[in-house]
Amino acid sequence: PNPPLQSPAAALGPEPASAPVPDNVPAGTSASPGPPERPPGRCAPPGLEEALGALGLQGEREYARDIFAEVMVCPALPQMALPSTVTPEMRALVVDWLVQVHVRVPGLAGDTLYLAVHLLDSYLRCSRVRLHRLQLLGMACLFVACKMEECVLPEPASLCLLGAGSFSQAELLRAERRILSRLDFRLHHPGPLLCLELLAALAGSNPQVMLLAAYFLELSLLEVETAGWEPSRCAAAALSLARRVLHVAGSGLEPALYRYGHRGTPDLPSWSLSVLSQRVRNNC
């Protein structure tokens, strides 16, 4: 028996992110007391179950709200300046290169790239790096991300070849150890792709909008500013921009994007447009 997730009226309340909405206790046959209520602050938009179904996640009925809460409120990295040795342009250059490497290594999942860039940004926030080691750091982050996400690992030797000999395999493995140690194995990060898929499914976006939004999301990787954003905020911005570009009629999604993506983000469109203008100009 699927417990109803939540009435739409409750989900559309004025302050959903802070409104305590307890889980529905599953209809047990027992006379014993139900499980302890989950902490407040978990809420689900209407249609979440259908959206999860559209993503092939029907099995997650029991935990749908938790998954949604986790991916949507995943905290951002602290807004911090890059280490003095690394400028935003250099970071963008390495990330751009990682995007290309990610394409060249066959079969890598999209999430692996986002995790790799997240690890890179996390490392840059807690440690310094010599400029000529930035490329090695980026590759080692991708390597660690593969170990977290992929079923089939790329060979370290082939990754070194992709680096055109600028670092050895031993150096790659040493860098891996350093990343694990510096980040203290705190590597888990849901990333923005699932947020985007969920938001798009909730909004009933067509594949074209989704594709463009995914492209914008990838462009946002290059921005040092968005590295300090919640993944859900990046996803909401990318989707919002894609819908504007393709002139998808508003279906009342925007308020939901603001609400579930990130509360109080009045600058979504302005960021989106500035990114679009900069990046598309550079790339075209």
């Binding site: 060249r104 055109a164 694990l180 849901p190």
Partner: protein, 439 residues
């Protein structure tokens, strides 16, 4: 933009910090200083250039791949800085006079407890707080670096804090190995069952099962699948506290687009959907394994012992559950290992016909049958199972316990002596008391 970076990078005498070559990196490079220097020069190439030549398989790349392996034995740890610069800048541990976490010297190895697929486990003692610990020493793979199982286990356990999940105290980095310091548990469920043959006391089964489901409900709420449930991975303390361990195959399930490998879970505890080759599974995967362990605790025997192949395992399961059809399990005939020639006359049996002890305990068979459903969606969730009538005889406070509080903090909750221990003590004329052999 690329050109700009290149110019900056190539500026001689770049005053970047020596972050990447501190510590033992130096000891490796000492043997070939000339080569290091030339390599450093090569590294100062345009990143764009590098990316363009990615596909050209450079001979130098191969050379680099066979770079000399460092042999330094100096232990390295979280608490020690990798960078001497850091030390010079006065980086200090707050408890400088005390033993630090993360240092190999803070723990004493006592005895070897066991050997896993990628690690050796030792019993140890912490010199910081004199507590017993389990030291899981992971050796580095020369080709692949840190095993991915170790990376997943540590990163997942960092985020899991629950009374029924094994606690990761500390991580020690040394040159050759990585050591995870876990809380020490006295035995595991496999050993506990083998020390008490003939099935466990029904009261203890209930307590163990409640804790197992409590741990599973917690990790499933955290979007983590264990994926390798078996008695060997379930640790038991003196008191009877049960903790899930060995998260090497576990993974965060919040990312659905990835299809998981179907090669998870030891064959005996693998659910039929995974056996049939389904690669999209979810928390129901762990529920099947928990159901198998549930019945095994009563019976004292694995449910499907001696099975060596996937098809043998499936046939054993069909003998109990009946061969699934599209009616009982939508989509089953499309799974890769589905065999249309399975004899469809095998009818489902009641579980207590097969495993007789289930029938003696009220409600136990009902819970077991809800966990051992062929069609994954039909399986009960861990959260739902916790409020099953089978557990209604337990104190109601158990449902309100905070995550990190053990069942045994509630008064009146405790293990009962196993029948086997009572018989043994009767024969020997004294109580054997606690299980003394560890692991």
């Amino acid at each position: 933009m690329g050109q700009e970076l290149c110019a900056k990078t190539l500026r001689p005498g770049c005053s970047c910090h020596r972050c990447w070559e501190g510590g033992d990196a130096r000891s490796c490079q000492r043997r070939a200083p000339e080569r290091t220097r030339t390599e450093a020069a090569i590294q100062l190439t345009d990143l764009k250039e590098a990316s363009r030549s990615m596909t050209s398989f450079h001979p130098r790349g191969r050379q680099a791949a066979h770079a000399r392996k460092c042999k330094s034995k100096r232990p390295r740890s979280n608490s020690e800085s990798f960078q001497e610069e850091d030390l010079r800048q006065g980086f200090q541990w707050p408890t400088k006079s005390l033993l630090p976490f993360g240092a190999a010297s803070s723990y004493l190895n006592l005895e070897k407890l066991g050997e896993g697929s990628y690690a050796t486990v030792y019993k140890g003692i912490s010199r910081i707080n004199r507590q017993l610990v389990a030291l899981k020493v992971i050796s580095m793979n020369e080709e692949e670096g840190v095993p991915f199982t170790a990376i997943r286990e540590a990163s997942l356990l960092k985020g899991l804090k629950h009374a029924n999940i094994v606690l990761l105290h500390d991580i020690i980095h040394t040159k050759e190995t990585l050591t995870f310091v876990f809380e020490y548990m006295h035995t595991d469920l496999a050993q506990y069952m083998s020390q008490h043959p003939g099935g466990l006391h029904p009261h203890n089964v209930r307590l163990f099962m409640f804790q197992l489901l409590r741990g599973l409900a917690y990790i499933h709420h955290q979007h983590v699948l264990h994926r390798d449930l078996k008695p060997q991975n379930i640790l038991i303390s003196h008191l009877g506290e049960l903790k899930l361990a060995d998260f090497g195959l576990a993974r965060a399930k919040s990312i659905p687009s990835q299809t998981y490998s179907s090669e998870v879970v030891t064959l005996w505890y693998r659910p039929p959907d995974a056996l049939l080759g389904a690669t999209e599974y979810s928390s129901e995967l762990d529920i099947w394994g928990a159901g198998c362990i549930f019945i095994e605790m009563f019976q004292g025997q694995p449910l499907f012992p001696g099975v060596t192949s996937i098809f043998e395992q499936l046939e054993k399961i069909w003998e109990v559950l009946g061969v699934p059809t599209e009616d009982t399990w939508p989509g089953v005939s499309k799974l890769p290992n589905y065999n249309p020639e399975w004899f469809p006359l095998l009818k489902p049996q009641s579980l207590q016909n097969v495993w007789n002890r289930l029938g003696r305990i009220p409600e136990a068979e009902d819970l077991a049958s809800q966990m051992l459903k062929g069609f994954p969606r039909d399986r009960v969730s861990a959260q739902e199972a916790l409020v099953h009538d089978y557990f209604s005889s337990l104190p109601s406070q158990l449902h309100q316990l905070p995550d990190e509080e053990s069942l045994f903090t509630v008064s009146g909750v405790g293990l009962k002596p196993e029948m086997y221990d009572l018989l043994a003590s009767y024969r020997k004329g004294h109580r054997t008391g606690h299980f003394s052999k560890c692991w």
